[in-house]
Amino acid sequence: MLGIMARKFIEAAAATDLGNVRQYNEDSIAMDPELGVVAVADGMGGHRAGEVASAMATQIVLAGLRERFAELRSGADQHSPLLAVEESINQANLAIWGAARAHAGRLGMGTTLALALFHDNRIVIGHIGDSRVYRLRGGKLQLMTRDDSLLRDQVDARLISVADAAESHNRGLVTQALGIVEQVTAHVRQVDAMPDDIVLLCSDGLNELVEDADIELILQELGVNLPLAAQLLVQTAKDNGGYDNITAIVARVRKPFPAARGWQRRLFGWQH
């Protein structure tokens, strides 16, 4: 499956695939060109509940952001984009948690989430679980998120070395996800955006199977053709084994995107 989002300032493309082993695709993607937001979620839970959880996460977060940004732009609310992201993620968590409790077959369903919101020359990055956000700038790939995963914890606690992590049996064990408990701590941060920055959001089915060096090369060489870049990332993960669902969203900053501020419009709008 492919999706394309084109806007004057940001363009984005997405690809998602079942992989070679799984029967269902429990990953979900969402893109809103108007809002300038992209999101990936990787669901978990039996009886296809993972699909439900990941779809709920992306849809509720986007709806929450639309609502909060409408308020922000009308001047009715002083939400910061960071707070808007955090609140929308919490809202999705509560909704999934509630839905899981209301339906026996969905007990224990949960999902990861990674999102990037392009606003006012900045990128707000929100994530929970082991879905990731990377940024390519000046040909260098940088991981912008720290996985909520046991393996990551083991390495950080110096229980095992980075090199030994390759031998661990703890792949795929996440320490936080949406929908499992009533309260979550989403990681939300803001980074600056520069023209030609490329942001990649992916489920672990991609980064577990494609080395960072190859992700970097694909983004660098195919940044001018985002649909091809997204498709090639997913295809490479499949070629390398593809034992999980694979999802990639790539977004590129075309030009600076300063926000039109309410007070600016009020003060200076009449002059033009």
Binding site: R152, A166, L173, V174
Partner: protein
């Protein structure tokens, strides 16, 4: 569930399931696994459970902890590992191999407390490497640049993609896949050409000897001999006609 089997001279001395967060190994009788050997320290090593991992940690023992013959301070136990304690062998058995675990659905478990990690919860991090180098056999190809700015050069196609043409104007990539190399249009008005014919904008497979043109670059593709899997050698080929 993982199991530990202590043996000496080929006979089993003791065995237990790894059902505790910590198991200690040493000469002292207070240890869960007591190894009565003078070369073993009183508190020699510890086996710590973290999620699906069992990590053996040497407790600064006098003679060290050897796993499969190699001295280790810390090691993630793998099915079949043998840890030597003097004249004793401790074998780790876990039917759930890393590959099987990996196929399990992502599940939620308790993390290691952030306080214990002493780290901020946010911020950039280094990637944890992926499980292992994949054992997919990729072909090895190269191109000989016939004309253009790189004329005369030989370029090895040893990465997932290699770009040709004029980046930013008109370009295409050769994509390396297990089944061969594919030419994919990237940008520009003109699609790449193969053997004088337009290759279109859809990815297509290239064959040994194909002459490819992308913008002002012209080059010939060559397969450097496909590495074949080792099946076919040894037993299989010997028993077959």
């Amino acid at each position: 569930m993982a199991k530990l089997v202590l043996s000496s001279g080929g006979s089993i001395v003791f065995q237990c399931f790894v059902d505790k967060e910590r198991l200690s190994v040493g000469r002292d009788p207070t240890n869960q696994i007591v190894v009565d050997d003078s070369s073993v320290s009183r508190e020699h090593a510890q086996i710590v459970a973290v999620g699906n991992d069992h990590i053996i940690v040497d407790l600064a023992s006098a003679n060290g902890t050897f796993v499969n013959g190699r001295r280790m301070l810390r090691h993630i136990l793998q099915h079949g590992d043998v840890v030597e304690f003097g004249a004793f062998n401790l074998r780790y058995l876990n039917s759930k191999t890393a590959t099987e675990v990996e196929l399990d659905r992502t599940m939620l478990i308790e993390g290691i407390a952030n306080a214990q990690l002493g780290l901020p919860t946010d911020g950039a991090a280094l990637s944890v490497p992926r499980k292992r180098a994949t054992r997919i056999n990729f072909p090895t190809g190269r191109v000989h640049m016939v004309s253009g700015p790189r004329a005369g050069m030989m370029i090895e196609l040893d990465r997932v993609v290699a770009r040709f043409g004029k980046p930013g104007r008109c370009s295409a990539v050769l994509v390396r896949r297990p089944q061969g190399y594919f030419l994919a249009y990237v940008e520009g008005r003109r699609a790449p050409r193969v053997n004088g014919q337009s290759a279109g904008k859809e990815a297509r497979r290239v064959n040994d000897g194909d002459v490819i043109e992308v913008a002002d670059e012209k080059f010939q593709f060559a397969v450097a001999g496909q590495r074949r899997p080792d099946v076919g050698r040894g037993h299989l080929s010997a028993t077959r006609d």
